[in-house]
Symmetry: C2
Subunit: 517 residues, 2 copies
């Protein structure tokens, strides 16, 4: 039997640690955090009661249609803390009625057309790793058909001259990387969900990736997109650049399944880097680190990695000893040595009080990435031991960053203290631009009930909005961020987007609840 | 009296050469090209007959409303060869009925609202340098109000920390650069129309600028945009990056005045570069140069200048002696020496057969830019001496470039030979991406009548479309490129855009004829 994903958490069922291992992890975590309970076990699927499916697939879709509890539970939620909290407790109020797993674009189209004909809503589903309620049915008056694209996982064409590949939307990070590796190439898009999330999901949600500068979002790696809409096939030309009107690709990027189902894309890939340089630079304060990163972001050096981590978070993740902020800095190239780049970057860091070891830091970027990709597994343990673990992320210009950070940290810490009585809020930069950073905040606190999460999320999001940030730099809007997104986006733009959706999807079948109503 | 722009051509009236100088230029050009007639004089404005204005401005707009022949003629056309050809001959069939020159955003709004109330169409007008019929009224059943934004030309705010400025849409290149220079900063966006075109026009048309890599279009320099639509003010937040749904800024970029009137934007500026390196690299063939530029585009070196010019065009413009292709290569930085960058780039050129002088090429980029910005003046002379001078530009992936170029050059040369009996078609790259170049073609040929221009434009555009290119990389769609753009853009996207426009501009007042109907 093939490995099965956990229906309630991160990763495969066979990766779930034994209760003994879980207790050992919990003891270790509790000792560091000062809070957290004994780990409990999740409600097994056999004890989960789901509402009866309200639809059954027609004969021609039977082979790809699933209505069993496992598939319906697995596709009920994304993978936010809030999702895992509920799934862990066996709470699945709004599962899809039918899960389709098409094996071809034609089957995607047939499934979408059938669902629309039935008056159902259609939720496109990639890795299901949304942390913003992007794949969760909340309006439950209409039947729900979730279309899981993971069987469309092939690299269909590879262009070694233009360094591009045509890839199906359902390919996960590892699947597309293993196929590209046969050619010595890589996409190098490593969101934290890399192991399970898919190219189509990245495009629909404007996922942030590996590169800390220039090529920060998947947007920058997309050459053309193909999507199925109820109004027909949306296919752009393969073009390295174009100025022909409003960009059609940029209208699908971030469309979150509301305009169509992305089925494939041409993306820009690159040879595996052969030259690397990596350093972990220490700063006495986050402010000094911020000044150095600002200088780096405005230097034209374009580091591949440029993650500034505050002292507390660095201590907790092992990137530092907790006494200083750490900048994980990296350059990479498949063409030439990057030593000059690193030298200039370290000179800038030095100008702002940075210090680093001459040796021994070559693997800091690799270590950091390994820890980064393992973090979602740890979160399952946090849920089991009643520790709230939540992140929120944004972007803000440099001139406002200090006041912004004070306001947001202050509001989030006050909410954590009030709601949970203890806990921490830490900050790192995930991506940086010449005009500002993308700060990423991590909250850890003791939790009794989900309403505490809601209250903290609300306080943090309010603070981000008040201080001029974006409700998300790379986690998307989904259903969770809607109240704040609605305050952020220009009203005439929302009217335009609503009309655009109306033209493409007149029955409002496609992922209702995200972005616009 | 203030300097007046020529109502028929490029630049100011006082810059028009004397007839004697014009004859000398014509003799020189004729000797090089082997064709071209004696220069004639343009039809003076006093001999131009315009249709009577069908509207007059209300009392509250009187101070900013103009209906004199000069203003109406000046605002009748953009500055394509086709436009100058007609204006030179005194042919102004569809002048705007009223030209408004608002001095504030409130006056822009009042003007737009008044025009819509009158059932007029509204043409937003920046520098009026469109080469694609972007500001020309063709549907003439409704009265036409052109809103010229050039009085809104101030840098309103400067942010020295984030390296950003808030600039009014009517600021021309020189106007905004002189204000930024007070702070030691520069936008470094130098389209060929730089002297007269405006920030708002650049955003509306997705203009291509100075940087040959990474920051190729104005798109990449825009932090937020503010526009007036009939449905209200469209204002995005100042954000260095965001992933909150479809980008609102990307929907205004390339909207060509059809969705709203852009009034201001925050843009990313930078300190003036203090480190520069520049080289002119010779290649025996354009193919060798192409291979070198491909390697450069995929190297991560990101040259600021990377213009490959074929032998014939290099000979004509003085960049070379006509026996070899020339790559104008430049790096610049305000932070660190760029010598290492240039060394790596020249190594790559050398690998592909490139050769260069050790000394004496430091000014090649500057010379090239000077000649580049003077070219539109020369075109007035071409019009006067009945020489067809036309450019078309596109983008294509590297894997298809050779076949593409053969097809497009072949089709354009065949059309020139058939229609004009003589002439040349040359090629250069204006911008390059890791996945392909943006080729730019220049046509020079003897001309008798405008239908010859139409036939050649048609043949070239057909060839670009057939071979997989985009109808424009940075000249916009306007009215001239519509037939080919309509074949290029995805149908569902056009439906979405049409619906978006309908929601914002229900009377279809804003610049009808561009992009969509």
């Amino acid at each position: 039997m093939a490995r099965r994903l956990k229906h309630w958490g991160w990763g495969y069922e066979d990766e779930q640690p034994s209760h003994e291992d879980l207790r050992a992890s919990a003891d270790f975590i509790r000792a560091r955090l000062g809070f957290g309970g004994e780990p409990r076990a999740h409600v097994p699927l056999s004890e989960v009661v789901l509402p009866e499916p309200r639809l059954s697939a027609p004969r021609e879709l039977e082979e790809i249609a699933f209505t069993d509890s496992y598939e319906r539970a697995l596709h009920s939620y994304g993978r936010s803390y809030r999702d895992i909290f509920r799934a862990f407790r066996g709470q699945f109020d709004h599962p899809p009625d039918v899960v389709l797993r098409p094996r071809s674009e034609a089957e995607v189209d047939a499934g979408m057309q059938w669902a629309i004909g039935e008056g159902a809503i259609v939720i496109p589903f990639g890795g299901g790793t949304s942390v913003v309620g992007g794949v969760e049915a909340r309006a439950y008056e209409r039947p729900v058909v979730t279309i899981d694209l993971k069987a469309l996982d092939r690299v269909l064409e590879f262009d070694p001259v233009s360094h591009c590949a045509r890839i199906q939307a359902g390919a996960t990070g590892p699947r597309l990387e293993e196929q590209l590796a046969e050619h010595g190439f890589t996409l190098r898009h490593f969101p934290q969900s890399f192991e399970f999330s898919t190219l189509g999901g990245w495009i629909a949600t404007r996922a942030g990736g590996h590169f800390a500068t220039v090529y920060t979002h998947i947007d920058d790696l997309v050459e053309s997109v193909r999507a199925l809409t109820p109004a027909g096939v949306w296919q752009s030309r393969r073009l390295p650049g174009s100025g022909a009107g409003v960009s059609p690709d940029r209208m699908l990027l971030g469309s979150e399944g509301a305009l169509g189902i992305i089925t494939e894309a041409w993306v820009r890939v690159r040879p595996r880097p052969t030259h690397r340089a990596s350093s972990a630079v220490r700063f006495r304060t986050f402010g000094e680190g911020t000044a150095a990163v600002r200088a780096l972001s405005q230097s034209g050096l374009y580091p591949a990695n440029c993650r500034l981590i505050d002292a507390e978070e660095a201590g907790f993740t092992g990137a530092g000893d907790g006494s200083h902020s750490v900048l994980v800095l990296g350059f990479e190239s498949a063409t030439q040595s990057v030593d000059t780049w690193m030298k200039h970057a370290l000179d800038l860091c030095s100008d702002h009080g940075g210090a680093w070891e001459r040796r021994g830091s070559r693997d800091s970027a690799g270590n950091w990435r390994e820890a980064f990709l393992r973090a979602p597994y740890l979160r399952d343990t946090f849920v089991a031991m009643s520790v709230l673990s939540e992140t929120f992320e944004t972007a803000i210009t440099w001139d406002r960053f200090e006041a912004f950070n004070d306001h947001v940290l202050g509001a989030a810490r006050a909410a954590v203290a009030e709601v949970c009585g203890a806990g921490s809020v830490t900050c790192r930069f995930t991506h940086v631009y010449p005009d500002g950073p993308a700060p990423y905040y991590t909250i850890l606190a003791p939790l009794r009930e989900l309403e505490q999460w809601d209250a903290i999320k609300r306080a943090a999001s309010d603070a981000v909005m008040e201080a001029g940030g974006t409700i998300t730099h790379h986690h998307a809007v989904g259903r969770e961020h809607r109240p704040w997104y609605d305050r952020q986006r220009p009203d005439p733009f929302a009217a335009a987007l609503r009309a655009a959706k109306g033209a493409l999807d007149p029955t409002g079948a496609l992922n209702p609840g995200v972005l616009i109503d």
